[in-house]
């Protein structure tokens, strides 16, 4: 998705925020960009291409996910089938929300992102793979890029751990803090 500053109002438009569940948001992902007013698909939009339809890795430009704190944006991407997002930078709250929902946001340098866009254009059926254990992004043409994730998030995502359980291991410290 060759765009910068993709905001959460685009990822999941506000008319779909009224559900009280975490599921079922994928059908509304990028709704106003994907569909015309009459509900027909806009063929030029990235998700309506052959690769976009079955995509699990989304590559975009800087400051992806800016705007609202709505976790619905991460839910919609996950529900649609995206597992990995790659961009030069992400908005802060959105970045956190991704990890809570099993979506891996990967930050790469601008020139590395450029490489991905370039290769995607040159190769038919281009595929990118992200290896969380090795912290590497690879493709089927020999590209291999390293990425960083902080160790606690890496650990939680890899083992599917629940943040609340982990925090409650320190419950005595919370109680001590409150008793101060």
């Amino acid at each position: 998705m060759d765009r910068s500053d993709v905001d959460t109002d685009q990822i999941i438009p506000k008319q779909f925020l009224k559900r009280i569940e975490r599921t079922g948001f994928g059908q509304y992902l990028f709704f106003d960009w994907r569909f015309d007013e009459d509900g027909s698909e806009r063929p030029e939009f990235e998700l309506n291409t052959k690769a976009g339809r079955r995509g699990t890795v989304l590559v975009a430009r800087r400051n992806f996910g800016c705007g609202s704190s709505r976790e619905h944006a991460a839910w919609a991407l996950a529900d649609y089938g995206f597992r990995v997002l790659i961009a030069p930078s992400f908005a802060d709250i959105f970045y956190n929300n991704c990890f809570k929902n099993g979506v891996l946001p990967i930050t790469l340098e601008e020139h590395e992102i450029e490489q991905l866009f370039d290769r995607c254009e040159r190769h038919a059926d281009y595929q990118v793979t992200a290896d969380l254990e090795a912290c590497r992004v690879t493709d089927q043409h020999g590209l291999s890029l390293e990425f960083e994730v902080d160790s606690s998030r890496h650990h939680c995502l890899l083992h599917g751990l629940d943040d609340i359980d982990m925090t409650l291991e320190h419950e005595h410290k919370i109680a001590a803090y409150e008793a101060r």
Binding site: N63, R70, E71, K100, N101, I164
Partner: protein, 472 residues
């Protein structure tokens, strides 16, 4: 480095250190949360998570809820017409009953936009950590609190543990020296700063606003500035507490009982003179003139006496593409003077600009005039209490006499989750905080301005330089 400099700390550092519950190298820090504000849109899944895991709310006494995002701003005596919005509000009401949380319901005069009622009730206090499932929680930083928006999983985390897992951010000082010219408002200051920082310039930082311009702002004006900090990518914006802060808080319902003792504590909070920020940027108040956005993010902004910029003048290719796309969406041609742009709608409201001083400023412009017939103008007070105050001052009459609609409190057309929305291609002068595509209604076109500038646009039908306004 002198001993004083070594022990010197910023406002942020003091609050961070005072709220550390647990810290391990290489792990996220567990930070205690003093105040948790809850609203209907980002909380239902969090409460459901608690129920599924058999957890309780750890500190209902530190948790406060209201409904604001999708509530109607008319016909409050009727049930909410939209069944899904009604379900969200009903769900929040039930959750608050079940978990024993104070809830300001639709018929309570204290109901309102969560970032308006927190401060006006005195729930927001210096030195606190404050969170809410809403990015504009940065508003509360105006009191010298560390306040930021969180996602729904984090809402659940705070409900269950009264703490959050956090990565320590860096500090960025934005200093605005000198003074503002006449007609230049806090909204113009923050739009100007976002224009210079870009939408991601604050990423990874907590901003502290300093300088004479900031010191002279009222509490409500400081809230406007801190509110939009998130639009520059920084999660939180803060301003050191001072006499202005204490005077505002004294006597508020939830202010500390022993107020003088609280003030003595709060006076320890401001950044020490020798403390260092990770980064500092300095601006001059004299350079700020009334601002109008032209694009689809808040950093795409110019002074009202300038013209729609030409994307070809931008050196960065990504910025250029974004600008081209924005101009196409906004239906604008480069070189058009901002004052020649006609508007169809005017929205005065939102957590940025719906407080009593905002309404007074807009009413002063409107007094003695009438809106242009083809312009629809709407005023949505930030809370029931703001509405009451405005009505006691006769401000509602000024607006009504000028043909403006006078509504009930809520987020309203800032994000168009309720029936208040733009029609496709309608152009709106809005006092809100985001001009994203479709934000106020599908294909709607939003220009962000101050309350006075929005009011003037309703009278003249196009943007005007408020510095030349003829007040009646």
């Amino acid at each position: 480095m002198s001993p004083a400099a070594r022990s010197a700390r910023t406002l942020f550092e003091k609050i961070w250190a005072a709220h550390l519950v647990h810290h391990e190298e290489g792990r996220q820090t567990i930070l205690y949360i003093d105040r948790h504000l809850v609203h209907e849109v980002t909380s239902p899944q969090a409460f459901e998570g608690l129920r599924l895991a058999g957890r309780r709310v750890r500190r209902p006494d530190l948790t406060t809820a209201t409904c604001d995002h999708n509530v109607p701003t008319t016909d409050r005596q009727l049930p909410i017409a939209d069944p899904i919005a009604r379900q969200q509000v009903d769900t929040l009401r039930r959750n608050c009953q079940e978990f024993d949380i104070q809830f300001f319901d639709l018929n309570d005069p204290r109901q309102g936009i969560v970032h308006v009622i927190g401060p006006e009730l005195g729930l927001t206090q210096p030195g606190m950590t404050i969170v809410c499932g809403d990015s504009h929680t940065s508003t509360h930083g105006a009191f010298g609190a560390l306040a930021f928006g969180i996602g729904t999983s984090e809402v659940e985390h705070v409900l269950a543990t009264q703490t959050l897992l956090q990565q320590r951010p860096k500090t960025l000082e934005l200093r605005v020296d000198g003074q503002l010219g006449p007609g230049v408002t806090a909204k113009d200051v923050v739009l100007y700063l976002i224009g210079r920082l870009t939408t991601s310039g604050g990423a990874g930082f907590v901003v502290e606003y300093t300088g004479d311009v900031i010191r002279r702002l009222t509490m409500e004006q400081r809230m406007t500035v801190c509110n939009m900090t998130i639009e520059a990518g920084a999660r939180a914006g803060m301003i050191g507490p001072d006499q202005t802060t204490y005077d505002y808080l004294r006597g508020r319902p939830f202010a500390p009982k022993d107020f003088d003792a609280a003030v003595a504590r709060w006076e320890q909070l401001p950044t020490d003179p020798e403390a260092r920020y990770d980064r500092s940027r300095v601006f001059s108040g004299a350079d700020v003139v009334p601002q109008v956005t032209w694009g689809t993010n808040p950093s795409q902004v110019v002074s009202v006496n300038e013209s729609v910029p030409d994307p070809d003048g931008l050196s960065d290719e990504a910025d250029r593409k974004t600008a081209v796309r924005a101009l196409e969406y906004m239906g604008l041609v480069p070189g058009t003077p901002m004052c020649d742009i006609e508007v169809d709608r005017v929205f005065i409201g939102s957590c940025t600009n719906s407080r009593i001083e905002d309404l007074r400023a807009a009413a002063a412009v409107v007094r003695g005039y009438r809106r242009l017939d083809r312009v629809n103008a709407m005023v949505v007070p930030g809370s029931g209490l703001v509405k009451q105050q405005a009505e006691s001052e006769g401000i509602d009459r000024v607006f009504r006499d000028a043909g403006f609609e006078w509504r009930d409190a809520g987020c309203s057309m800032c994000l168009g989750m309720n029936p208040d929305q733009l029609a496709p291609h309608e152009r709106c002068a809005s006092t809100s905080n985001r001009n994203f595509e479709g934000r106020q209604g599908r294909r709607g076109r939003t220009h962000l301005v101050s309350p006075a500038m929005a009011a003037a646009a309703a009278i003249d039908g196009h943007f005007v330089d408020i510095r030349q306004w003829n007040y009646r």
